[in-house]
C-alpha cells in the first residue's frame, strides 16, 4: 500500500459506497429474463451461423460445391461450346437429320473475301435523312 493509497483511505475512512437499490433487482432480472427468452427463441439463422459445428458444415458444403464445379468444368473442357453435349448425344442416338445439321462446317470469316464478309442488309442514308430505305445487296 503506497502513500497515495493511505491518503485515499484516510479520506474515505468509515464511508462506503451505497449498494444497488433493492427495487432494481426485480425489474433488472425481469428484463434480463425477457431478453434471455427472446434470445433463446430468436433468429434461427443467427443460431445456424453462430453454431460452430454448423459453421463447419457450411464451410464443408461450400468447399465441396467449389471442387465439384471445378472438376466438372475440367472434364467437359473449355473449348467445347455449351449445349454440344446434348446435340452429340442426339446424333449418337441415330437421328441422322439432326446429326447432319450439327455436322455442318462452320464458316471461318477470316478466309472470306473482303466483299463477302458483310452479308447483312445495307442501309443507305438519303441526303434528306430518310434512313428507312434499305438496300439488300
Amino acid at each position: 500500500m503506497t502513500k497515495h493509497d493511505d491518503t485515499v483511505r484516510r479520506l474515505f475512512h468509515g464511508l462506503e459506497v451505497p449498494p444497488a437499490p433493492p427495487d432494481v433487482r426485480a425489474p433488472a432480472l425481469e428484463r434480463a429474463q425477457a431478453a434471455l427468452a427472446r434470445e433463446r427463441a430468436g433468429d434461427s439463422w443467427r443460431h445456424a451461423w453462430e453454431d460452430r459445428r454448423l459453421r463447419w458444415a457450411w464451410a464443408a458444403a461450400a468447399a465441396v460445391l467449389i471442387v465439384a464445379n471445378v472438376a466438372v468444368r475440367d472434364r467437359r473442357g473449355n473449348s467445347e461450346p455449351a449445349g454440344s453435349a446434348g446435340v452429340n448425344a442426339a446424333s449418337v442416338a441415330g437421328d441422322r437429320e439432326l446429326a447432319a445439321e450439327v455436322a455442318l462446317p462452320r464458316i471461318d470469316v477470316r478466309h472470306l473475301q473482303p466483299d463477302t464478309r458483310n452479308t447483312g442488309p445495307q442501309l443507305e442514308l438519303s441526303p434528306a435523312g430518310d434512313s428507312k430505305k434499305e438496300n439488300h445487296s
Partner: protein, 212 residues
C-alpha cells in the same frame, strides 16, 4: 446488507412462467471474496449460456453492488446507475451465446457497465445536472451524523474530479483492484489507469488543502 424480498412470478413468457428466485444471502456482499476468483464467475456464465434463469439471479446478487457503484461514480446519478445495472443484465442475456467464450466474466461485466455508464453520462450532459444530494457516491454506514457530514463533503470533492478519474478511484479503493485489472475493466492501458489514479489523488489533495 438487507434486501427486500423478491417478488414471485413477475412475468410470463409464452406458456412458461418465469419465476425470479429470491435474493440469496450467500455472496450478496459483492465487495467481499466473491470477486477474488474467476472460477465461480465462469461457471455462472456457463450456466447462463445454457439458459439457467437461476444463474442469472445468482449473478445479480454477486455483481449488482459493484456494478452499481462503478456506474454511480462514473455517472454521478443514482437513477442512471440503476439503469446501467438493469441494462448490463439485459446485455448478459442478449450475449448468452458468447458467454462461454468470455475469458474473465468479472472484467467483462465491469467493462459492459462502464460503457453503458459512459453512454448515460453523455446523455446526462444534455439534461440539467442533479443536485449534490442526489449524487451521493459515498454514504455513512449508519445514522452517524459526523460521518454523514464527512460523506457529503467528500462527495462534493469527488464531484469536482473528472468522471474518468472517479471511476479509477472507485475500482482501486472500493473494488480493491490492481491497475492491470482496472485497465482490463475500463479498456485502457495499465499505465493510463495508474496515471488517472495519481492525477485524481493529486487533485483531491489539492481540494482538501483548499477546503481546510
Amino acid at each position: 446488507m438487507t434486501r427486500s424480498p423478491a417478488p414471485g412470478v413477475l412475468s410470463t413468457m409464452g406458456a412458461m412462467p418465469l419465476a425470479i428466485p429470491a435474493a440469496s444471502n450467500v455472496g450478496t456482499d459483492a465487495r467481499g471474496g466473491a470477486w477474488a476468483e474467476a472460477g465461480p464467475w465462469r461457471e455462472l456464465f456457463s450456466r447462463i449460456a445454457a439458459g439457467e434463469v437461476e444463474a442469472l439471479a445468482r449473478l445479480y446478487d454477486l455483481a449488482a453492488d459493484r456494478l452499481f457503484g462503478l456506474a454511480l461514480w462514473r455517472t454521478g446519478s443514482r437513477d442512471d446507475a440503476a439503469d446501467v445495472v438493469q441494462e448490463t443484465f439485459v446485455r448478459v442475456a442478449e450475449q448468452r451465446a458468447r458467454l462461454d467464450r468470455v475469458r474473465d466474466p468479472r472484467w467483462w461485466l465491469l467493462a459492459v457497465a462502464h460503457r453503458l455508464a459512459i453512454d448515460h453520462a453523455r446523455r446526462r450532459q444534455q439534461r440539467p445536472a442533479e443536485g449534490l444530494e442526489a449524487c451521493a457516491e459515498l454514504v455513512a454506514p449508519q445514522a452517524d451524523q459526523a460521518l454523514a457530514v464527512d460523506a457529503a463533503r467528500v462527495c462534493e470533492l469527488l464531484w469536482r474530479l473528472p468522471a474518468k478519474q472517479r471511476a479509477v478511484i472507485y475500482l482501486r479503493h472500493f473494488g480493491e483492484m490492481t491497475f492491470a485489472e482496472i485497465g482490463n475493466s475500463l479498456g485502457i492501458p495499465l499505465f493510463t489507469a495508474a496515471s488517472r489514479y495519481r492525477l485524481a489523488l493529486a487533485r483531491l489533495r489539492q481540494l482538501v488543502g483548499g477546503a481546510t
